[in-house]
Symmetry: C2
Subunit: 315 residues, 2 copies
């Protein structure tokens, strides 16, 4: 039996929110539906933030209301506060994804409050939602902060404990700006699994420094089975302009599939969807598989090869 790996595609939220041009609502709905039919375990559909804060996702209600709900797929949404949680519940999201940074400076820069203020606000959301929907908390900058540098693993472990005590279902350990290395990933993965064996742990990597898939490999080797990825590698980080963003779902999934894991994904179909992405966003995307194709799509040999293979015996 192949070991099952669960992928969550975040392009519709994490990818599109970084785009400079609004992705039309119809295109978002079509893409989410295509991802659903491809075999993703989860799709992060949108964000119930204020339309002023993230105008790219101002159509959150409409997208959530009109996507197909494919059986077996969880539809998750980002929720920043109580108001967002109410909107998400109304939209019948399968999961609410809350977010805070493990670095004080990054939390202040990104969410404009201290980590403790964020923790208190998210605690209130968690209590308010109660049993109405499962909650995931994304811990940003868990492998380093672009402004502070190192973030001690003990800080992540402490927030993990505190959120687990509030009854969240899962945590995403996020390498927000691509600072993780595989040795660090192994230490983090082993420690958190031992500490909180009943929590759904998802690892979220960026390919900013080219190490995204190496970090996925390290995490898988350490027993992690849930990953975020973004179709085409969209998304990214304002601190490394020009560098890659999120790991490309299709690249990570292909690697694991080739290694013999069961990702549940129809990979040729996924590549077809990924190849449409540049038309949706109006620019090239960093993913490699859409350029290289599957290993099994063989090329024809040059015409002179056959003659060389069977040279005339008595020429």
């Amino acid at each position: 039996m192949k070991k099952r790996i669960y992928f969550n595609d975040v392009v519709a939220r994490d990818g599109f929110q970084m785009e400079s041009n609004f992705v039309p609502t119809e295109a978002k709905i079509k893409l989410v539906n295509e991802l659903s039919h491809c075999g993703f375990a989860k799709v992060e559909v949108t964000s119930f933030t204020s339309p002023k804060a993230i105008p790219m996702l101002r159509d959150a209600e409409e997208v959530m209301g009109r996507i197909e709900r494919v059986s077996g797929v969880e539809y998750s949404v980002l929720v920043p506060n109580l108001r967002g949680a109410e909107r998400a519940l109304e939209a019948k999201a399968d999961e609410l994804n809350l977010v805070m940074s493990t670095s004080e400076t990054h939390n202040l820069a990104n969410l404009r409050m201290t980590r403790e203020k964020s923790f208190a606000a998210l605690s209130e959301v968690i209590r308010h939602v109660g049993a109405r929907a499962p909650i995931n908390v994304s811990l940003s900058t868990s492998f380093g902060c672009p402004m502070e540098g190192d973030v001690a693993q003990s800080v992540i472990e402490e927030y993990a404990d505190r959120f687990a005590a509030l009854g969240v279902r899962g945590l995403s350990i996020c390498d927000t700006t691509g600072m993780a290395n595989p040795a660090q990933v192994i230490r983090m993965a082993e420690s958190l699994q031992q500490q909180l064996p009943n929590l759904q742990l998802t690892f979220h990597f960026h390919n900013t420094r080219g190490m995204g898939l190496a970090n996925v490999l390290a995490a898988v080797q350490s027993g992690i089975t849930r990953f975020d990825g973004s179709l085409g590698g969209l998304g990214g980080c304002p601190y490394a302009p020009g560098a890659s963003g999120n790991i490309a779902s299709e690249d990570a999934i292909y690697m694991l599939d080739e290694m013999g894991f069961d990702t549940g994904i129809d990979i040729p179909r996924l590549l077809d969807i990924a190849r449409e992405l540049p038309n949706i966003v109006g620019h090239e995307v960093p993913g490699q598989m859409i350029k290289a194709g599957l290993n099994c799509n063989l090329h024809s040999a040059p015409p002179y090869v056959e003659a060389l293979r069977h040279p005339p015996k008595c020429a």
Copy 2:
């Protein structure tokens, strides 16, 4: 004590031979000298092929004659045949790198002869060179052929045995078109090291499908300590146009350095050199580190952060 990893940069040969514009001789010499002073264990300088076959490297003698020979750095050259071996010895190369494919079709397509004819020709070169210089043999398409598909590991093991019996110092196991996955790399690395414990084994990966650094990680975990890389990720594969080529030396080296290995490389200096590469070749290069920078190069927080960090107590 940190474990030592040895890097061979192949940009001046494997990278430049794929370029459409001739890289001026002065630029090649300057780049090789800069790589030498950066701490590389080996630099593949050029190829003693016919200038008609690879016009980009038609200045092989001049480049080899005018580079600085930095102590501790080995200067390797590609050699296709007896004539090339003579030229390489005359140019005082520290190592001769011979090449053949483990896939029959790729060998026919690339070298226009059967594998057995290649093996016989390289055997003659090895006997002819004798003790005058150490020999490395690069086995192309060791992880798959873009025209044939899978290449059985036993084929690589067989050629490895036969070349070892001829007294070569080392073998490079090459993923010529980026078809390897980490599970396959681990199987190959473990098997070859057990089979030929006294041979210098170098692993050569491409990032065609985004897995280059994951494959480096897998190889290092399996005990491999020698790698090829190409500055900026130059080079590549005509079967996947637009996709990445060789792994970028600076990306792989940074990953291993961050993991705690001793690569011997002055990484800030290496990034400075890599950042010059687009000016030399006239186009962008795929490496990520030159866009993202080191983790330790921190960014300043937005101005509002300090006020939020210390809110007035009695406002």
